[in-house]
Symmetry: C2
Subunit: 574 residues, 2 copies
């Protein structure tokens, strides 16, 4: 490919619309252009990267026995009504009507369509397991589409659905996909971690991992163990309760005056005790239920754990001031557990019962209790793991300290169970002729999102640093002069040589200054740059530069092509 013949409009300025670095760089490097909020056109180089990731995904799905199909993007409402999702899926679902007023949606996912397909075709256990996948556009009407391909409204996903005879089969399919996903992101040249994740509202029989590309800018916090392979989304990570050493005898609770003290910070200062000696009391409303949540003052409540352990509310939030006043007779800053009304459910994080004495709110303005003994002075109805894990804590598996990292979710594997097969009647006859529901799993890779994640992880001030396997081209040749015929001719000769060696090479044949070419090459992020200057070439040499390390090497012209090929092959094998 010649740069002069490529639609690759690079930009020097950072576009105002782009907040995150991957979005900025994709616009600046001429990989995408916006067509509407959340909708993008892939320009030639952007599409090349997309197709490289798609090809890797496809190979790994095929290797695990996945069969590729292609389902419609437009889906009839009838199927979504059968599964029960038409009414519960919120504003993120794009809905439309056809000319006959029949309702459709644009698929954010394809459980309904695939289950409808399979129920028509599967009869016997002999046909299972069946793994079907597609690579296709998905739609999600985000409230605030932004961050470019990181959170668009139209995006490319690979979604595979597994159909098994039983849980054991599902477990096997799940493991296959887990392994395939590890291979996919390794082959893309990305640093990633599979982390235990929250099954959330999708339901299913539990068991789900997210695949996180690690990057400081990642929107997800994850913890991983320094001693074993444990890693989890922070939202999901289980906690080991920590005991605070305190050998003094139990005290006797008493009410004290704490004028103006409304927060844990204030209380800790005012009483001159560590925050870990206080209890945070939070009144929550989950749908139409009200409950009091207790957690140590130095900890952060994990609302996702709270919601999951209490059974999954559609809406879960801190109670309003009015509700606090009505329930406990005070304003939110003074909420406490002592003398909680009989009917009010009191749930405590597992560290609370381990406290010997604690300070807490008194449901009375400007007063707190001190020397409260949980379990004695405070009624606790349920003890649960409700807090956010913290870096440095001991791993639950091996005891080594946990580390924190930021990640971008690019894949998820998920055990669905029989939710959809039961709703839609995707059944089979087992060995004994008994009708059973298929046990399903679903497995997604955000293909377009992976491009953005790769850039978040691999860039510097000058631009993108593509990992070799997903670079739009592996090598760019930059002649620094268009007048020196030796430079021009050698550039053309090396270009032909490399093409002949099947190297993905691009030649910057534009009539531009060398500086402009260098800037563009760095911005677009080709892994290898070959520079031809009049002086070095007079000595029979060209410069080879690695984008990642920034290192440069002088190479004899006659050795260049083989040297480039060898470096690429080495990088692709990693």
């Amino acid at each position: 490919m010649l740069v002069s013949q490529l639609l690759n409009p690079t930009l020097r300025e950072v576009p105002a619309e782009a907040e995150v670095i991957s979005h900025q760089l994709m616009l600046r490097a001429g990989l995408i252009r916006k067509s509407a909020s959340g909708f993008y056109t892939y320009l030639p180089l952007g599409l090349k990267v997309l197709k490289k990731i798609e090809a890797i995904v496809r190979e790994e799905m095929d290797a695990k026995g996945g069969q590729e199909v292609l389902m419609p993007i437009m889906q009839p409402a009838e199927l979504w009504k059968e599964s029960g999702r038409w009414d519960v899926y919120g504003a993120e679902l794009f809905r439309l009507k056809d000319r006959h007023n029949r309702e459709f949606c644009l698929g954010p996912t394809h459980e309904e369509i695939i289950t409808d397909l399979v129920r028509g075709e599967i009869r016997s256990y002999k046909q299972l397991p069946m793994l079907l996948y597609q690579i296709q556009n998905k739609y999600r009407d985000e409230r605030r589409p932004r961050f470019g391909l990181m959170r668009g409204r139209e995006f490319v996903m690979k979604d595979l659905y597994s159909f098994d005879r039983d849980e054991a089969g599902l477990h096997e399919s799940y493991q296959k996909m887990y392994d395939a996903y590890c291979r996919i992101f390794s082959r893309c040249g990305l640093t990633f971690r599979p982390v235990e994740a929250d099954a959330g509202a999708i339901g299913g029989t539990g068991g789900t991992h997210e695949f996180m590309v690690l990057a400081d800018s990642g929107e997800n916090a994850v913890v991983h163990c320094s001693g074993c392979d444990y890693a989890a989304n922070m939202e999901k990570s289980e906690c080991r309760p920590q005991v605070i050493d305190d050998s003094s005898p139990e005290g006797k609770s008493k009410l004290v005056s704490t004028p103006g003290v409304k927060t844990i910070e204030n209380l800790s200062e005012f009483l001159a005790v560590p925050k870990s000696a206080t209890i945070k009391s939070l009144l929550y409303q989950g749908d139409d239920k009200i409950f009091l949540v207790l957690i140590r003052g130095d900890r952060t409540l994990n609302e996702i754990k709270l919601n999951n352990t209490l059974g999954g509310f559609v809406s879960l939030q801190l109670a309003s001031s009015e509700l606090v006043l009505q329930t406990l007779g005070c304003e939110p800053g003074y909420v406490g557990p002592v003398g909680a009304p009989d009917g009010l459910l009191v749930v405590a994080d597992q560290e609370v019962p381990l406290m010997k004495r604690a300070a807490c709110g008194a449901n009375k303005p400007d007063h707190h209790y001190v020397d409260v003994v949980p379990g004695k002075d405070i009624r606790i109805d349920k003890v649960l793991d409700l807090r956010m894990v913290e870096p440095g804590e001991a791993c639950l598996k091996c005891g080594a300290p946990l580390k924190e990292a930021r990640g971008i979710e690019v894949g998820q594997v998920f055990k669905l169970g029989t939710k959809y097969s039961k709703a839609l009647g995707a059944n089979f006859l087992d060995e004994n002729g008994v009708e059973k529901s298929c046990v399903m799993g679903c497995y997604g890779v955000g293909v377009s999102r992976t491009i953005a994640a790769a850039i978040e992880q691999n860039h510097d001030d000058n631009g993108i640093i593509w990992p070799m396997p997903i670079a739009p081209y592996h090598c760019i040749i930059v002649p620094t002069s268009n007048k020196d015929s030796l430079v021009v001719e050698t550039a053309e000769k090396l270009y032909q040589e490399l093409k002949h060696l099947r190297v993905e090479v691009i030649l910057d044949d534009r009539d531009e200054r060398a500086g402009v070419k260098f800037k563009d090459a760095d911005l677009v992020g080709y892994p290898i740059r070959v520079t031809l200057g009049s002086k070095t070439l007079a000595n029979g040499q060209v410069e080879l530069k690695e984008r990642k390390s920034g290192e440069t090497y002088l190479v004899r012209v006659e050795d260049l092509s083989q040297e480039v090929k060898t470096r690429i092959e080495k990088a692709l094998q990693c």
Copy 2:
């Protein structure tokens, strides 16, 4: 691939929902399944064919300098309002709103999006020509979606858009695409014709060809010359006026009683004159204009020509009985041109003025005029080419007789001119610094439709007969026994050998009777079948069968793989 591991549900019965043979066979051969009216899932073998056609299209586009991009399917209404199409595009456009109530449509075509993209990136004539294409889903809300992939509501197209500096550049781009399309359909192994076509309502600077896959079941009638390369859509084909030999002197028109005679057939019988001696008179309404159309009684009016030559009405139809009565004072069966009201435009096909005498309606029940002389007894305001060409007529180019054929439109190349670039302001500066509008062309291939067209052209009573280049697999191995270990082992050995030779081979390892396997192999339409039977194999031979010719050959086991490979390579080179 092993048939036992493939989702390929074949059907013995013809599904009631399928009217056309390609739809029937795609369902029966397990290539597609319906998800909703006009929406289909491609099963693994169907998707394989789709991808093969896509790959051929992509190679030919790239070979002509096309750059692949990927545009959004969801398009903002604003752009369609800018081009003026939002209000005129009818019920076929799927429209929807997002959560913020902003309007979008699902792209039936991408002129707006690509022109919007290009106007942001093109500044100079040096950047032209630019050829951008994509392969993607398109949407059209057909009133009666049917015929499977032949007329779906969601379908795969390749659309390329060319941007040039002037008409000469457009002509060059157009010719490139014309050539590429010829290569595409040749490489797909299809018999096709590029035909001159009607530019219709899309407008543009004229010049358009349709690419027709020839098949008896085709919905388009085309004519092609037996002596030269002329071919045209019958709707478009120009006609040479034919003179009827008649040496008798002109008569004098007179009104005759013709009780009960309302049609040309009746009139011809009643008067005992050939239909070619009568004039058909038709009152038409085009938008708010009314006009009388005259054509020889033995000819068929071509409404498309009528509409184009009169300037392009949005709606063109025969006048209602009420309008006929109001305009001419009679009912439709008696309409005639003699004494047409002064204000009424009378247009005649070019053969009408060549008639020496004619019979025609008299605007009076049960009466006709005979011996009418056009031009003398009848006022003619405009003489136009208004009729449908007929097989056997002389070609306008070379005079050889024209032949008729039926075709399925699978591609169209189109000179758009500056319609969209002017509306959206896609301009560039020419060599003299003058701002000009890009001159555009658009070029579409119905990728999914080509699958259906290929089947309409290539099938027999037993199923599909794939042309080698687009067959899902080139060769199927059918062991006729699952008990004879020699048969089973040899089948496996040949399967491995062929895979090693990079032959696209599938092994029917199912525990089914040989008859079932043969029926499925024929139905799916693999070009080459290798059959292993106990008897022939005892002699060291297997049977090779060509799906297309039905011919069978006995081949020695050790020669089989090379023989298969040679046959495939030969077929792919054609």
